[in-house]
Structures are given as C-alpha cells and as structure tokens.
C-alpha cells in the first residue's frame, strides 16, 4: 500500500492545529521539535497510523525523531507496511 503523505499531513493539520490557524505545514515541517505535536500527542498520531495502515509500530520505533516530519513518519510507516 503506498503511503499517502497528503493524508497524513491533512490529519496533522486537522487534529493538531487550531481551526483557523493558518500556519503553513509541509512534509518537512518539524512537528515534534517545532512544538506542533508533543510527545504525548504522538501516541494518538501513532494510533491513527496503525489503524489506517493496519500495522503495529513498536514503542521502540515510535521515537520523537521518527515522528518529527511527515516525510519521516511516512518512511517509518512504509517499513512496517512492507514488513
């Protein structure tokens, strides 16, 4: 299954930004380092990805670094989709 980066990006914007927040977010925007998604909220993002792609991401792989951009998230998800 191809990883739909736009779908992940849309989810982040919808769930983690205020409704009328016009902050521009790209595939390379730092989500964790940039304070858009904190390490606690990362758990709900991980759950979303697991549900969407029917995968299990081990806690050891769900690091702040791996969740820092849409690009790095997509790379992480791809590993487990392939596996």
């Amino acid at each position: 299954m191809p990883i739909d980066k736009q779908m992940i990006l849309d989810y982040v914007i919808r769930e983690y930004l205020e409704e009328d927040d016009d902050t521009e977010i790209t595939y390379n925007t730092e989500l964790i380092s940039g304070g858009i998604v904190d390490s606690f909220s990362m758990v709900s993002l991980k759950r979303f990805l697991e549900k969407k792609y029917n995968i299990q991401i081990p806690d050891a792989d769900a690091t702040p670094e791996a969740f820092d951009t849409v690009n790095s998230i997509a790379a992480l998800v791809e590993r487990f989709v392939k596996a």
């Binding site: 927040d21 730092e30 304070g35 904190d38 758990v43 549900k51 050891a60 690091t63």
Partner: protein, 566 residues
C-alpha cells in the same frame, strides 16, 4: 578557597535566616521576587551580565542582560497597570517558552499582581477551569493560543483583558490588546509594588484525587528557600550557564526556571522547542551549559537514543546534573555516570512545597534510585496517613510528611480551605507519596498514596479526566487510572463503559483520545482505553479506582470491605 561544606555541615545549626542575610532581607521588610531577580542583581554590579539567552527550534535567539530584565519587567508591570489591572488580581501567563513569559512573570510580581502561569498545551476546558476558579482578571498570551481564550472568554465574568505579545499587525478582538515587549518605553520612576513576606505571589494549579485542580497559593517570602535551594542543591555558582528543562506552566519552571537562578544572579538558557535528543545535546554544547536540571522522562528518552549520540557533542562544560518530577530510576543514574561522567542528582518536592525538600545533595554519596535526604531546615518523615504517627523503623513504608513552616510552603489552596486542611495529619503536611527511609536516612520512593496519575513528571487528576469523558456522547461512565509506562513512569488509562447503541472499535477509541487531548491536554489524554461493560463500585455507587489501579500495577487489591460500604 574554602571547600564546599558537606551535607552534615550544612544541616548543623541550620536556620533560614542564613538565606535572609545573604539576600539582605530583614524580617518585616519589603520583599518582592521581581525586584530580587532583577534590580537587586543590577545593584550588586551585574547589570551587564546575561540573564536570559533564549532560542527556538528555527535558530532565532534573543539575549537579555540583568539590566534588560529590570527595565523590561518594569515596563511590563507599568503596561499592566496602565491597562487598569490592580495589585492582588490574578494575571495568567498562557504562552510557550517565550522571553515574554519569563520577563512577564517578574513584571506581574513587580506591579503587585498574583501571577498564574498555565501550561500552554492546555485545552479550553482545562484553561477555563483554572481561570474561572481563580477569577482571573487578565490573560497574557500569544497568537498561537489566543483562540482557546476567545472560545471561553464569555464564560469568564472576571476576565477584563487579553494581552497578545506577538500580535504585530494581526486583527485583534474585543478585550484584546497588543504588547510588544522589546518596544515598550522604559517607564520613568517606576515603583515596584511594596509587597511583604506574606503578600501572595504565584498561583499554580495542581491536581488531586478528588474534585477539580486546586490553586496552590505562594507568597513572596518563598524566595528565601527558592534562592537557597537553587544555590545549594543545584549548586549554582556565579559563572554557571544553567538550563532548566521545565516549562514555567508548572512549578519547577518558576521556582527553578525563573526565581532560583535569577535571584542568584545566574545566567540561564532557554530552548523553546519540543523534544529532540540531537537538538538538546547540540544546544547544551553550543551554550556551554554547566548545570542542567532535567526530568526522568526526558532522561529516559535520551537513554533510548543511545550513547553514541552523546559522544558526538562536546558536553565537557557540564558540572552538575539534577532531576525532578518523578522518581529517577537507578538505571538512569548509572547511565548518566557512564555518558556524562557524573550522576543525575534526584530531587523531590511538589507544587505545595515550593522548593526542593528531599534531595541528593552535591558531594553526598548518591544511592542510585534513592530520593536522597531532607534539605537542611526541612524535617521529613514517613508517617501513617490517618494518624500522622511516624513510622520510624528502617524500611517501613509510610506517606512522606513534612513539619510545616519552611518559607515556600504554600499558604493554602485558592478558595478551598477544606482541601488544604485535608493535607495535614498529626501536625504533619502529607505529600501524598509513599516511601521508606533506610538506616542512612535516605528516602526511597514506593508509590502514590492516592489516585493521582504522575505522567512524565506532571500530576493529572482522575476526576478532571472522568468529567471530560462524560461529555463525550458515547461514554456512559468511566474511570481514569495510572498504568505503568517505560518512559513516562505512568500514563493515563481510561476504563470506559459505553451508552447503548455504541460499539467499541478503533475509530471510537481514537476519537475519545483526541476528544480529551483537545479539551484538557495531551498529558490527560488516555494513552490506553479499555472498553468494559461496567466498573467496580461501592454499594452507594461510587467507582473504586483502587481496584483498577492495583490490577494495572500487579499489586494486591487489599481489603475492600470498608470501601464497598462507602
């Protein structure tokens, strides 16, 4: 040069007046934390010394020396007074870690206000609960968070002013006023509010087992113990570069992220960015950090990133490491000795104590996994929580208790004298944590004595979560308890019984998680949800969280006969 006195030497004949003398404070005189953290340091000849070196994740940085602190905090205070705000009113700071937060903290105190810092990740329900309870008159915030304030302001009759620190050309709404800190004109002949020892200073909200969060009321005299503990426990010295990871929305971020270092005239650095191990090490190397006050959750996250990453950075300036928020596990202490060449020193205290009360003192033998020994001037014991009777035998478990009377002990909970009275037994203040004491006098953490959840060093109250869960259309009843977590020590687990017509599934689980995250905060979001048919209850219908919590930790449930009849 005299060697640093040992713990036993410090303890011998200790008296808090020692700190008063060092601060030049005489009992009965005026004492204003804002003045002590800025004007006094300038008077001591350090006006040009850097006080705050701030940067964010994009590399932007701002530096303020102690004279800047003095002038900018005066200007901030004068601005608030010009807005019609009065001494004694609660003024909330609801911001990320911007310089305006740190300097505004001093500004509110200098105009005589009660500063109410709130964690900027709070959702609108958590924010409303705390602003409504405090009768807050003004909120100082930033564009990123002002929307949350806008959504609740109509339900806050006391709120008269919303100050936005980064509005620039943005369109503001009713009650809102822009403030550009660095452009404020220095006020002529500003007079710092003449507060005295018992004048209220800071109002921090903290969670308990029952009811909504309580406002812990501090006074200006707290400075005496915050100054001395920062000097002795964090071992702050004039040439140090100090980094405290804590957000000033919580008590560590004010007692030791503002008051402690600045009353000692120490330079502190702030990184306004989320967690990233590489960025943290790079920041410490670049800023040549010497003293680092962190938290077990952060340390465990760093451990997970491995030893190799640490070695890529020059952290040779690090001289002293401390930790706070939750018990520091022995593995983390041993790891820090391996990679930094020095151990993290665990410190124990809480919002209500205002300062470190049990600690691994510099120079004292660190027993990995222990909380350390009481700070000089603090009388601590473990006691029976009902009678307050000390449990003196070595290894016997009781609730950590302190003899009242240290300078930064809170003076009560805001509008809640009964809640505060319930924190005492047999003349002791009860901390709510269970521990034992070994033959050398070291305290060893065992667990909480109540249902409060300590997640990543932050206390979260189950009642607040359960109340919010009930607002979800699918939830019939719920119980929020702690469940063990490798990184955060504990995280929130919610047991949820659904209303007829709703079926448990992954979509609903995620929806409920996000519902709580947005209403309350990411900390309060259940990281695990268990859908159940019913919850264990007393005969009168009260949910018994203790059974669920015990199951999570694999502990015996104990005698439930009295609970069942509750």
């Amino acid at each position: 040069m005299h060697p640093t006195p040992t713990y036993d030497e410090r303890r011998r004949n200790f008296d808090w007046s020692l700190a008063e003398q060092e601060l030049g404070y005489a009992p009965g005189a005026k004492i204003n934390i804002g003045w002590y953290c800025s004007d006094r340091i300038c008077q001591l000849g350090h006006a040009a010394k850097p006080a705050l070196i701030w940067e964010d994740n994009t590399g932007r940085s701002r530096t303020y020396n102690f004279d800047d602190l003095r002038v900018r905090s005066d200007a901030f205070a004068a601005f608030l007074l010009d807005q019609g705000l009065q001494p004694g009113e609660r003024i909330c700071l609801f911001m990320d870690r911007l310089p305006e937060l740190y300097i505004g903290f001093l500004g509110v105190l200098k105009m005589g206000g009660i500063v109410q810092p709130l964690f900027s990740a709070f959702g609108e329900d958590s924010l409303w609960t705390r602003l409504d309870n405090a009768g807050t008159a003004a909120v100082v915030t930033q564009m990123k968070h002002v929307r949350k304030v806008r959504r609740i302001r109509d339900r806050l009759p006391s709120l008269r002013k919303i100050v936005v620190v980064d509005a620039e050309d943005a369109a503001l709404k009713e009650l809102e006023t822009p403030l550009a800190l660095d452009s404020l004109p220095p006020p002529a002949n500003f007079q710092v509010f003449p507060s005295t020892a018992e004048t209220p200073s800071v109002l921090h909200y903290t969670s308990g087992t029952t009811g909504q969060p309580k406002g812990a009321q501090h006074v200006h005299y707290s400075l005496v113990s915050q100054y001395l503990t920062a000097k002795w426990v964090l071992d702050l010295r004039p040439d140090d570069i100090y980094w405290c990871n804590a957000d000033p929305g919580w008590v560590t971020g004010t007692s030791y992220g503002i008051i402690g270092p600045w009353s000692n005239g120490v330079t502190q650095v702030v990184l306004d960015a989320g967690f990233n191990a590489e960025n943290w090490y790079a920041f410490m190397a670049k800023r040549k950090v010497t003293v680092w006050y962190s938290a077990p959750t952060a340390i465990r996250l760093l451990m997970r990133e491995g030893d190799e990453l640490v070695r890529r950075f020059d952290l040779s300036n690090l001289r002293h490491l401390c930790s706070v928020g939750e018990p520091l596990n022995a593995e983390a202490v041993i790891w820090s000795e391996k990679v930094f060449g020095k151990p993290f020193h665990d410190t124990f205290w809480q919002t209500e104590t205002g300062c470190i009360v049990i600690t691994n003192f510099p120079g004292m033998k660190v027993k990995p996994g222990s909380m350390g020994r009481p700070f000089p001037g603090i009388t601590a014991a473990v006691v029976d929580p009902k009678s307050g009777e000390p449990r003196n035998a070595a290894g016997q478990v009781g609730v950590i208790a302190l003899k009242p009377g240290w300078p930064s002990q809170i003076r009560g909970y805001w509008n809640n004298p009964q809640g505060y009275a319930a924190k005492f037994a047999g003349g002791w203040y009860l901390c709510g944590d269970r521990a034992s004491i070994d033959p050398d006098g070291y305290f060893w953490f065992v667990g909480r004595d109540d249902d409060v959840i300590n997640t990543g060093g932050h206390l979260v109250g189950p009642f607040e979560i359960e109340s919010a869960l009930l607002e979800h259309p699918a939830v019939a009843e719920s119980a929020a308890v702690a469940t063990p977590d490798k990184v955060n020590m504990e995280v929130v687990k919610a047991f949820v019984a659904l209303k007829p017509g709703y079926e448990p599934n992954d979509d609903l689980e995620l929806e409920i998680m996000n519902f709580i995250r947005k209403k309350l905060s990411p900390l309060a979001m259940p990281q695990v949800i268990a859908f159940v048919d019913s919850l264990p209850k007393t005969r009168s219908g009260k949910i018994i969280r203790r059974i669920l919590r015990a199951q999570e930790f694999g502990e015996p449930v104990g005698d439930l006969s009295t609970l069942m009849n509750d």
